[in-house]
Symmetry: C2
Subunit: 356 residues, 2 copies
């Protein structure tokens, strides 16, 4: 718990002085002031996060955390539980959506086993992009009792802090976060409902693509999980333990560690944003370090982004997870920083400034 | 005129057979069906446009067409007229927003002088990314009479066809279109109002960032241009001649030629979309080849996109033009095609398919 408190205590506000300099530079680039809209806002935010007038986004890492959920035994997903492990192997071979879009964005994918229900066997050649932080072989069924012990919830967040710090030591300029875990939209809906106070129906979607009957069942199961466990709305660790997941705790830890290290964190979809909600609950200042890449079709996502108070960059009807939206967000961040650092100024280009 | 008719006649519908194969492949990739939302739609559209099951987007070109507008003497812009030429030099030196974002997207920028009000002096080393198609030293003031002669409107579109075909012969897989021209939002508003029937007030914005008084004046000038010239709503060439611009005609020609050559065309903001409106008016089937990269803050843009019936990918409050939004759209198209062509299938990755 001390590790979490230390990380949270290190998180400060943005560097306003640098943001002022950045705004001045943006206004002197050869374009009407503000005409690159959200790209300009993004460049300014990244300058404020990093405290650098000319931020460099060379080392980009997407953390994709995987874990299983005991609640999947209630039949909540369109896919069987073994898909979590199968997809971890797909990530490690480079064939998944996140691999393709991370390559597109020039980012490295670090896959983490936070609690997959089977042992992940990995060859040495692939181990540099893999971290084993398995806390258990999946959580317990939250519809029947707590998903995990409180000490494991703490351990999950602390593992996230360690995961970030290990990679940070190799050099990181920006991160994206994503996940894989059959059943984890149910857990995210429960977290969202408890923290934001929104009704379960308002934050529960079709996940991997379930039908109407399965959706009705999913809502009932989530409601049962909340009524059986009575998570304490003011206690993020209690919520994570009772209705969360190992990967969600790990992602919350990564966010806190990244914010403490003044590193921009690009969120992905609903589940990574549920982790952001946990991190925000622990340290509201962490919000300043979050970049919302997109708004998912999973309806609880919008509720989370509005609760935290961050506006998504993209709205492309994505709902895959893994960090795929975050990869697109990283590419936009890259574009924004190139605008800030590579464009000519009115003076350097000999272009007349505005006259009215 | 024959050249325009020939290009328009070559434009056919999309390749539905290929789109069916693409949908099938997308549904077999290791992700829930449809979970990459608009990226999947985009991949399918590009397959349908190119007629290729595995489209390759290697050679990307953004055409940035520049021209001056006589109507700028009415004081419609926040910038003096000489900025058009100054920005052409900025494009050729690589310091403008479009250069930065085109590099980000892996695209080459081809700058075209369609009618800048001064002679563009260019060194040989930069001439491979420059085409001189100057029709005149700026249009005439549309508030007092036709912006150009009908033969010049035809010539502008035909030049656009030639511009595309010359670059196509060197290899092009996808294009973006953009522009530069002080005064060209006024021309675009006039075109939009005449073609869509929307009131001038509903399609006129602040362009480079004018104040309230200037906006009132701009609306009056556009209304005067329409009442003085009485452009024929059913005749795209007449509209282009009376209230258009040389760069707008050129862009319309590029769109027609690209569609005839089954090449995806990524639109940029309001002005390039006004050109799309002209192309759409000449050949409605050209719509199928258009990809709307974003919706500008310039309010007439939304009216155009709804009139044509295409949905923008991004909404980032952009209003720079030059092709900057198109560059971001090309990057998304690239991502979409990588998803289609690089992701593993359930079978190849040994991942279980959905069970309900």
């Amino acid at each position: 718990m001390d590790k979490i408190k230390r990380a949270a205590a290190l998180i400060t506000g943005l560097n306003n002085e640098i943001m002022g300099l950045t705004q001045n530079r943006l206004d002197n680039l050869t374009k009407p002031p503000g005409s690159l809209g959200r790209l300009e806002e993004l460049a300014k935010l990244i300058a404020g996060i990093t405290g650098k007038e000319y931020p460099v986004l060379k080392n980009k890492v997407i953390f994709t955390l995987a874990a299983d959920h005991g609640v999947s035994e209630e039949g909540l997903s369109a896919y069987p539980k073994e898909v979590t492990a199968q997809m971890v192997y797909n990530f490690l071979r480079g064939g998944a959506g996140i691999n393709v879009l991370a390559r597109h964005a020039g980012a490295r994918v670090v896959v983490v086993d936070m609690g997959v229900a089977e042992k992940i066997k990995i060859s040495k050649s692939k181990s540099k992009n893999f971290q084993d932080e398995k806390i258990g072989y999946g959580t317990k069924n939250m519809a029947k009792g707590p998903a995990m012990a409180k000490k494991d919830a703490i351990k999950a967040i602390e593992s996230g802090i360690d995961i970030f710090n290990l990679e940070k030591s190799k050099g990181i300029d920006i991160i994206g976060i994503g996940e894989m875990g059959i059943g984890n939209t149910a857990s995210s809906s429960a977290i969202t409902s408890v923290i934001t106070g929104a009704p379960v129906e308002g934050v529960t979607g079709r996940g991997t693509g379930i039908n109407d009957n399965s959706l009705v069942n999913k809502i009932l199961v989530i409601k049962r999980a909340i009524s059986v466990n009575k998570p304490e709305p003011d206690d993020a660790i209690d919520i994570l333990a009772k209705v969360g997941g190992f990967e969600i705790g790990g992602l919350a830890g990564i966010i806190l560690a990244a914010a403490a290290a003044k590193t921009p964190v690009v969120l992905d979809g609903f589940i990574s944003s549920a982790a952001a909600l946990i991190a925000f609950h622990i340290q509201p200042k962490a919000k300043e370090y979050m970049i919302a890449s997109h708004c998912s079709t999973e309806k609880g996502h919008k509720v989370i982004l509005e609760h935290i108070g961050i506006k998504p960059l993209l709205d492309l009807n994505l709902r895959l997870g893994e960090g795929t939206g975050a990869a697109l967000g990283i590419s936009l961040a890259d574009a924004a920083i190139k605008i800030l650092t590579e464009m000519a100024t009115f003076k350097s280009a000999g272009v007349s400034k505005n006259i009215k």
